[in-house]
């Protein structure tokens, strides 16, 4: 079954076309990477998938749900880690977990998730006192607490040190092995090569390339990415 279907997604902000006729499909259990430079349309695509924005055109299904019409059902099956989303300073890790668990019908076991994300020792620490990596891991934990079928993780390793990044990669693998479909939004080509089954490279709101990292990455994914998304390429394509 298809976990995420996007067909002809278009979203404009005034005269600016943020996402222009984007289509892709993500299979159940797949780790799918959404790559692109800043302003390429990644965040708008994520917002439309999460039901935070209404597309101008196109069809979206997440686990069979339309993010606009079936918003409430979507919220039960989709876990989202948003960029730069924070928590109240004085809320502790365990309190945040209990709060978010209370939103879902059959939440994941809190202690299990804390252990999986290496946060057990920090359970009584307030949000403000957490390190960047710990905040990031808590944010991932909150995205997973509702036992989602699909998880969207936006720049989850940005700001992490190399060791923490490797740990997070392991975690993503573990989550996928539990049957969760994962959409990763990332700037790190190494991360996409290491984790993603397939990637889509967005450029100027369009899908510039779509395929496995191995097929796209000649000689490396980063080379392909730079070639496809550099300004020179844009002018050549439009001329």
């Amino acid at each position: 079954m298809t976990a995420i279907e996007v067909e002809g997604l278009t979203k404009r902000y005034g005269a600016k076309v943020a996402v222009d006729d984007v289509s892709f499909a993500v299979a159940e259990g797949e780790i799918f990477g959404l790559l692109g430079r800043n302003g390429a349309g990644k965040s708008t695509t994520v917002d439309c998938l999460a039901g935070l924005r209404v597309p101008d055109h196109g069809r979206i299904r997440v686990s069979g749900h339309d993010p606009v019409r079936d918003r409430q059902r979507l919220r039960h099956v989709l876990g989202v880690q948003l960029q730069e989303s924070q928590l109240p300073d004085k809320l502790t890790v365990a309190e945040a977990m209990r709060l978010y668990a209370s939103f879902y019908r059959q939440p994941e076991d809190i202690e299990h998730l804390l252990a999986q994300l290496d946060l057990t020792e920090k359970r009584n620490t307030r949000y403000r006192k957490l390190s960047g990596g710990q905040k990031q891991r808590l944010s991932v934990a909150l995205a997973l607490i509702g036992r989602p079928r699909v998880a969207i993780l936006d720049e989850l390793t940005t700001g992490l040190d190399p060791v923490a990044r490797r740990d997070t990669w392991q975690l993503i693998d573990d989550i996928r092995n539990q049957g969760v479909t994962i959409m990763l939004i990332t700037h790190f080509m190494e991360e996409a090569e290491r984790l993603c089954d397939r990637v889509a490279i967005l450029h100027d709101g369009r899908v510039a390339a779509l395929g496995t990292p191995a097929a796209l990455g000649r000689p490396t994914l980063e080379d392909t990415f730079v070639t496809l998304t550099s300004r020179a390429m844009t002018s050549r394509r439009t001329s």
Binding site: L52, R75, V80, L82, Q86, P88, E95
Partner: protein, 235 residues
């Protein structure tokens, strides 16, 4: 919803400054008036100040607390994050309203207790009318706070707007000049806190609050709440 309310209550309990201004300060202020044992035209200061202090309580939570909280939750993308969960972002605002209203009522009871036990100020003689005014004063200031929270782009600007509004509103309640001139009093009765202070005074003395005062408070609640709903931005 229960868990959200509990969480918001817990977070408030961790804000010593908010609790000081909203709970401890009003009681202390009344006690100072009581100890000073002054009077204006034969009426003890403590009796004059009790309704003003009670009006002050809703202003602290409605105008200073709530808007900053809402703007901070928007600024830190907490509302946006909640919009992706089954709970949705509106409920956290609801939880804050419940907590604020509860604390306003608790602080009001505290102020009444200090006045009665410490200085023999009689409890409100028109109790039903008094309770109605306390609730309406709270809803009016909370609705005004919601509106500020809806319009202010950042927590900092929400705090500034609340503070700027605090002075004129509390001036007409008589915080600095309990003996107001006839003109000031006349203008004041059309402001939410002026109306609240007057209605609280009347109901404490045993009269049913004037319908005009109830109308001002109810109207302020409805207009501000409707405007807040109209202009609210989740991000």
């Amino acid at each position: 919803m229960k868990m959200l309310t509990l969480t918001e209550a817990r977070l408030l309990a961790r804000e010593p400054l908010a609790l000081f201004w909203g709970l401890a300060f009003p009681m202390a202020l009344l006690a100072v008036m009581g100890v000073s044992a002054g009077d204006v035209g034969g009426v003890p200061l403590v009796t004059i100040y009790e309704p003003i202090v009670i009006a002050f309580v809703s202003v602290v939570f409605g105008l200073q607390g709530l808007p900053v909280q809402i703007a901070a939750y928007r600024e830190r993308r907490i509302l946006r994050r909640l919009a992706t969960t089954p709970a949705g972002p509106a409920r956290v605002i609801g939880a804050q309203l419940i907590v604020s209203l509860t604390v306003v009522l608790a602080a009001t009871i505290g102020v009444l207790a200090v006045g009665r036990l410490g200085f023999g100020v009689p409890l409100p003689r028109q109790l039903a009318g008094f309770a109605l005014v306390v609730v309406l004063a709270a809803t009016a200031t909370l609705a005004l706070g919601l509106l500020i929270g809806a319009l202010a782009p950042t927590a900092r600007s929400a705090g500034a707007a609340g503070t700027v509004l605090f002075f004129p509103l509390m001036y007409f309640a008589g915080l600095w000049t309990p003996q107001m001139s006839a003109t000031t009093r006349h203008i004041g009765q059309y402001t939410p806190l002026g109306a609240a202070a007057q209605a609280l005074r009347d109901s404490m003395a045993g009269a049913w609050p004037h319908p005009a005062a109830l109308l001002v408070l109810g109207g302020c609640t409805l207009v501000c709440a409707a405007a807040a709903a109209r202009f609210f931005r989740w991000e």
